[in-house]
């Protein structure tokens, strides 16, 4: 078994690695990739050393900032999916279509939950505020998003990076709706809890995550082994079937019929899903810091 260091958010992991923490492999998402690469903390991935590379869906390799020298990449894409609203179908009465407004619904004040990390929540706020991701860095966008986040804050019972907390609260009825990733809904459904992963009319937040190798990785060979196994069909089948995440290996989807995939909000053509939602875009370090600073202040009540 590999040793895992688990973080509340990838930003925390990056901070720790900048402080000298060395790992073999770590797991950022597309939105953070160019910033991660610019820290100089990672090495290029020699794709010829990965036996499963040929089956990786090309569109999700070709992400902004991912191309390195000579066909190498910085990040091997591994999983993709959505951030949306998981809600209790028996406790939450949807008015009209499913929408991000559900997490701003005053009827359920104190019974709504949210992911604590700005890397999800702020972007969802942007969708709610109607901000185009192309303009997310403007001052105007900052103000608009901050306003909706402040409006939401008194309604939120708990902000947490621990998805188990949200899942347990949804299952007990402490929360009626929460911002989650695909897996929370799939896990709760498998336990027989009446929940649904909403398809908000404004579109969900979509992302691709992957694995990168640290420049001083002590076990480079094993790092490649880990990555290759993460990209394998078996891993993919588990990711899709048990957790409801998209996988990067096209062959992993063969075991599932179109209807099952659709039910999970997945497809063999990831970009259909990713583009139908709002796909996260890389931002500058200044933006990231400003966003986190603002969001943390809002969560603290300011």
């Amino acid at each position: 078994m590999p040793n895992f260091a688990i973080f509340g958010g990838s930003e925390e992991a990056l901070t720790k690695m900048r402080g000298g923490f060395v790992v073999d492999v770590s797991h950022p998402c597309n939105q953070a990739l160019p910033r991660w690469v610019s820290t100089g903390l990672f090495q290029q991935i020699d794709t010829s050393r990965l036996s499963n590379w040929g089956n990786v869906i090309p569109e999700i390799i070709d992400l902004p900032g991912n191309a390195a020298d000579g066909g190498n990449v910085w990040m091997a894409p591994f999983d993709w999916g959505q951030t949306s609203v998981t809600y209790r179908t028996d406790l939450f009465e949807v008015e009209g279509e499913e929408s991000w407004d559900m997490l701003w619904d005053k009827r359920y004040a104190g019974k709504l939950g949210s992911l604590a990390s700005g890397a999800d929540a702020w972007w969802c706020g942007a969708i709610k505020a109607g901000v185009d991701f192309d303009d997310i860095a403007s001052d105007e966008a900052f103000e608009k998003i901050a306003a909706v986040m402040r409006e939401q804050r008194p309604l939120i019972r708990v902000y947490t990076d621990d998805t188990t907390t949200l899942e347990q609260a949804l299952s007990s009825g402490e929360l009626t709706a929460a911002m989650t990733w695909n897996s929370s809904a799939v896990l709760l459904q498998s336990e027989g809890i009446p929940v649904k992963f909403a398809k908000p009319k404004e579109g969900a937040l979509t992302w691709v995550c992957g694995v990168v190798i640290h420049k001083d990785a002590p076990n480079v060979d094993r790092a490649y082994d880990v990555i290759d196994s993460l990209l394998s069909v078996q891993t993919g089948e588990f990711m899709i079937g048990e957790w409801g995440y998209g996988h990067s290996n096209i062959k992993a989807f063969d075991k599932f019929d179109e209807a099952t995939l659709q039910g999970l909000g997945l497809s063999k053509r990831p970009f259909e899903i990713l583009e139908a939602g709002h796909f996260q875009q890389p931002q500058t370090q200044e933006w990231e810091t400003r966003m986190n600073e603002t969001f943390e202040q809002i969560k603290a009540g300011f």
Partner: protein, 309 residues
Amino acid sequence: MTETSVQTSAAEPAAKPVSRLERLLYRSEALRGYLLMSPTLLIMTIGIIVPFLILVTMSLWTRDGFSFDATLTIANYLRVWNEPIFGALLRRSFWISGVATVATVVLCYPMAYYVAFHVHRNKMMWIILMTLPFWTSYLLRVFAWKVILGYEGVINSGLQGLGMIEEPLSFLLYSKSAVIITLAHAWAAFAILPLYVSLEKIDKSLLEAATDLGDGPVARFWRITFPLSMPGIIAASFLIFIPTTGDYITPALLGGPDGAMIGNFIQLQFGAVNNWPMGATLSIVLMLWIAAIALVFLFITRQAERRVS
């Protein structure tokens, strides 16, 4: 001093030759003292003074993208002074740990009192029994409170079972009160022990004298026992107030949005917000505030003690 040692060595020419170091040690009492303290001094220097200096230096830097701008400036301190969020979080932290401190001392006083005055055999066993919960990890105790106070927790399901409430009480968890309750329990051992020691030390004949002179049990307590146990109360208050103000894990797990404390914000500066100099500044500001509050508290209790005696 010099003359005597010269004389002794002259009088005993056969004695072993004494090295210069030994002679120096023999002569200087201060040097012997420092030598004895050297392990502690070394640890203090490496573990406290050096990190503190790093913290002070870093608090005078500023963040610059991914790295630091090492020009010395008090910009961070000005921010702490000017932006209301920092003051509010500090006030909230002092309020929460102040209430927790008072609650802990008030709740632990009777326990310590009982063992000090009414238990005559196996006192040590009683003390150990009272500190038994503290043999488990701090984190586990915090999680245990999460289970007790939770939506489907012990209290809520108990009250529901008795038919006293219909809907679970949601204010129990994710609130300031959840943090206060947990802190008051988690730090109880730090109140019981100093309180017990100071109560145990009280000369029982003073109590008898007070009774002889006509004091009832209540008057006797307020005139003799309570003032004499003051050192224990002060020690307990400090031991709880100082570390809980900066506590981070309890509010993180149980506080919810309204229960966040300054410790959580400091952690964020070193994590997601990525502003280490600001984190350093906040740590120092917190330290200064705690020192100031402790001094005021000490001054007040001293004055009170003087008035009593």
